[in-house]
C-alpha cells in the first residue's frame, strides 16, 4: 500500500516544481523587498563561480539584506584571489558576510573548517541565506537547501526578469533622463571634460562622446533597435536613430559651452583657445532637425518618423538652460527638445554605483 500526500501538500509541491522562485518567496520573506537585487547578485555569482572552482577552496557567503555604497578598496565577491587567499590563511574557517552588491561587509570565524553541514546549521540558527561554494554551488536557508528541479525555468525567469526592464522607446524622456543619470551626470559613465578644466572646457568633438554613449544605452538597455549616424532618404544623416515596430524616433545631439580644439593635422587637443558653441547654435540645430523631418517624412516614403528629439547638453559654467526656443519649433508636432546641465556637483549615488560596476565588468573582459 502506498500513502499519498494531502491535496494541500500536492498543490504546494507542484508549485515548488513549477515555480522555483515560489519556494524562495515563501520561505525567505526578505526576498520580496530585494527580488531584483537578488536576481542581479545570483547572475554575478554565476559569473564568478567557475573562477572559484579552480582552486577548490571551500567558501560560504552569508547574505545581508542590504545594499551599501562602500568606499573603493572594499573586498567584493568578484575579488576571487583575495578572498581565497584570506580563507586559505584562516584554514578555511571563515564565512564571508556580503551585501546584495556582493561587497564583503564582515567575516565570521566559526573556529573549525567550514563544511555544508556547518553552513546549513548556521543558516538555520541565524535564519539567513548562505551560498556554499564547495564541490557544488548550493544555497541554504533556515537549514534547508534550495535545489529547484526546473533549472531552465529559473534561468528563464532570471533573464526575463532582468530584461523585461528594458525601457520602452515610447517613454523616450525617461530614457534620456536615465541615460543622463547613469552615464553622463558627473562623468559617471563617460569622460567629457578636458583634463584640468573640469566644469569649464569639454574635450574636443564632445558631440561624438554623447552620441556614442546614448547609442550604446539605446542599443543595450532600451526596447528598440538603435543605429548610429544612419542615413536618411535624402542622404543626410542624423545622430542616433531608434525604431520599434516600424516607428522611427531619432535623436540629434547638441551641446553648448566651450570645448578644446585640435590644430589641423595634429592629434593633440588644447584648451588654450577653446571653441564656443552658443545657444543660438543649438536653436539653429533644432531648425535643421525640423528640416530633416519635413524632408524625410513625405508621404511617398514608407518610413514614418514618429518623433525627432534634440538633446542639448549644457557645458557652460553658469548653465544657460532652459533654452527659449522659437514658437515655430515649440509648435512643430514631430519635434521635442530635452536639455541637461553638465556642470553638477557630483554624480548621483546610483550613477556612481553603475559606473563602478561597468568599470569592473570591462576589466573582466
Amino acid at each position: 500500500m502506498t500513502s499519498k500526500p494531502t491535496a494541500e501538500e500536492t498543490t504546494r509541491l507542484k508549485r515548488v516544481a513549477d515555480e522555483p522562485w515560489y519556494w524562495l518567496r515563501e520561505n525567505v520573506p526578505e526576498v520580496a523587498q530585494w527580488e531584483n537585487a537578488l536576481y542581479v547578485l545570483l547572475e554575478s555569482v554565476k559569473v564568478v563561480w567557475p573562477e572559484y572552482r579552480i582552486n577548490r577552496i571551500n567558501l560560504a557567503f552569508l547574505i545581508k539584506w542590504t545594499k551599501s555604497s562602500l568606499p573603493s578598496g572594499t573586498l567584493k565577491m568578484s575579488d576571487v584571489a583575495a578572498i581565497q587567499k584570506q580563507q586559505n590563511a584562516a584554514n578555511s574557517q571563515l564565512i564571508f558576510e556580503v551585501d546584495l552588491d556582493g561587497n564583503v561587509l564582515d567575516v565570521m570565524d566559526i573556529g573549525s573548517e567550514i563544511d555544508p553541514t556547518a553552513v546549513m546549521i548556521l543558516s538555520q540558527s541565524r535564519e539567513a541565506v548562505i551560498m556554499w561554494f564547495g564541490h557544488n554551488l548550493d544555497i541554504f536557508y533556515k537549514g534547508m537547501k534550495w535545489n529547484p528541479k526546473n533549472k531552465a525555468a529559473t534561468l528563464k525567469e532570471m533573464k526575463l526578469k532582468k530584461r523585461d526592464e528594458l525601457l520602452p522607446l515610447t517613454d523616450y524622456r525617461r530614457i534620456l533622463e536615465t541615460h543622463y543619470e547613469q552615464y553622463i551626470r558627473g562623468e559617471s559613465g563617460v569622460d567629457y571634460w578636458f583634463p584640468g578644466e573640469k566644469n569649464k572646457v569639454l574635450r574636443s568633438s564632445p558631440e561624438r562622446i554623447f552620441q556614442k554613449s546614448l547609442y550604446i544605452f539605446l542599443k543595450n538597455d532600451c526596447e528598440c533597435d538603435a543605429a548610429l549616424e544612419p542615413m536618411f532618404k535624402d542622404s543626410s544623416r542624423c545622430d542616433v536613430r531608434a525604431s520599434i515596430d516600424y516607428d522611427i524616433y531619432f535623436f540629434e545631439i547638441k551641446w553648448i559651452g566651450f570645448c578644446a580644439t585640435k590644430k589641423k593635422d595634429l592629434p593633440v587637443e588644447s584648451a588654450e583657445k577653446p571653441r564656443e558653441e552658443e545657444v543660438k547654435n543649438a536653436i539653429a540645430g533644432t531648425y535643421q532637425t525640423k528640416k530633416y523631418i519635413e524632408k524625410n517624412n513625405s508621404v511617398e516614403y514608407d518610413n514614418k518618423i514618429k518623433l525627432g528629439v534634440v538633446v542639448v547638453y549644457d557645458a557652460y559654467p553658469n548653465p544657460h538652460i532652459p533654452i527659449e526656443y522659437p514658437q515655430e519649433i515649440k509648435d512643430f508636432p514631430l519635434l521635442d527638445t530635452a536639455e541637461f546641465a553638465l556642470v553638477t556637483v557630483t554624480p548621483s549615488v546610483h550613477g556612481k554605483r553603475m559606473a563602478k560596476q561597468r568599470r569592473s565588468a570591462s576589466k573582466k573582459r
Binding site: 530584461r163 528594458l166 547613469q182 544605452f217 543595450n220 538597455d221 533597435d225 516600424y246
Partner: protein, 210 residues
C-alpha cells in the same frame, strides 16, 4: 527558389511553436526576427533556408513574411488579437494559431522535410524562450551578418551563405576556442544555439533601469 507556401508554413510553425513554448502572442516584427535567426543559423541544422531577407532600416525584412499572418487569418489558421489601428491607418496586431492552424501544422509535419524545418524553428525558439520576444527582436537586429552590411551601407538581400555568414563564422571561432582552451566540445546544434545567443545577448539589459 522556394515556393510561396513556405513563408506561410514557416509563420504558422512559429505560431505553433510559440503556443507550445508558452510565448505571448507574436507581432509581425517577431516573425521577421525569429525566422531571420532561424535562417541565419540554419547551417547548424545542415539545411538550406530557401528564401532571403533584405537589409532594411527596420532590420532584416521579407515582404512575404510580413503579409503571411494576414493570409493565415484569412485561411482561419491564425487569429489576430490585440488589434490596434494607428492614425496612419496601419494595423498593428498580435497573432496566435487557431485549433485548425495547429491541426494543419501536425498534418504538414508528416512530410519529412517540413518536419525538419518545424523542428529547427522549434529548437531556435526553444532556446530563445529564455530571453523572451523583446530580446529576440534585439538579437536579430545585432546579428553579425546584418550588422556588417549596415556598417558597410550595403543594401539588398542579406547574404547568409558560406563564408559570408558572419554568425556561423563567429560560432566556429567560439566553439574552436572552447575546444582548444577548455576542452569543451559542443556536440549538438542546440548547444551551439545556447552559446551563440548567450554571447550575442551579453550586453543587453546590463544596466539597472530605475
Amino acid at each position: 527558389m522556394i515556393n510561396r507556401p513556405a513563408y506561410l508554413n514557416d509563420v504558422l510553425f512559429a505560431l505553433y511553436a510559440a503556443e507550445k513554448l508558452g510565448w505571448t502572442a507574436l507581432a509581425r516584427t517577431h516573425f521577421q526576427r525569429i525566422l531571420y535567426l532561424c535562417a541565419a543559423l540554419s547551417d547548424l541544422a545542415n539545411s538550406e533556408w530557401g528564401y532571403d531577407f533584405s537589409n532594411t532600416l527596420y532590420g532584416p525584412f521579407n515582404r512575404y513574411i510580413s503579409t503571411a499572418p494576414d493570409e493565415l487569418v484569412h485561411q482561419r489558421y491564425a487569429e489576430a488579437i490585440e488589434v490596434t489601428v494607428q492614425r496612419d491607418s496601419k494595423m498593428k496586431a498580435t497573432f496566435r494559431a487557431t485549433d485548425a492552424g495547429k491541426e494543419r501544422v501536425e498534418l504538414i509535419a508528416k512530410l519529412r522535410r517540413e518536419q525538419r524545418r518545424l523542428a529547427w524553428i522549434y529548437s531556435v525558439m526553444g532556446v530563445l524562450t529564455v530571453y523572451g520576444p523583446t530580446v529576440t527582436s534585439k538579437l536579430a537586429f545585432i546579428e553579425p551578418t546584418f550588422t556588417t552590411m549596415k556598417l558597410e551601407n550595403r543594401k539588398g538581400a542579406i547574404e547568409l551563405s558560406g563564408e559570408n555568414n558572419q554568425s556561423i563564422q563567429l560560432l566556429r571561432r567560439l566553439s574552436d576556442q572552447l575546444e582548444r582552451d577548455y576542452s569543451i566540445h559542443l556536440d549538438t546544434p542546440v548547444s551551439h544555439l545556447i552559446l551563440y545567443f548567450d554571447y550575442l545577448s551579453r550586453d543587453i539589459g546590463r544596466s539597472e533601469p530605475k
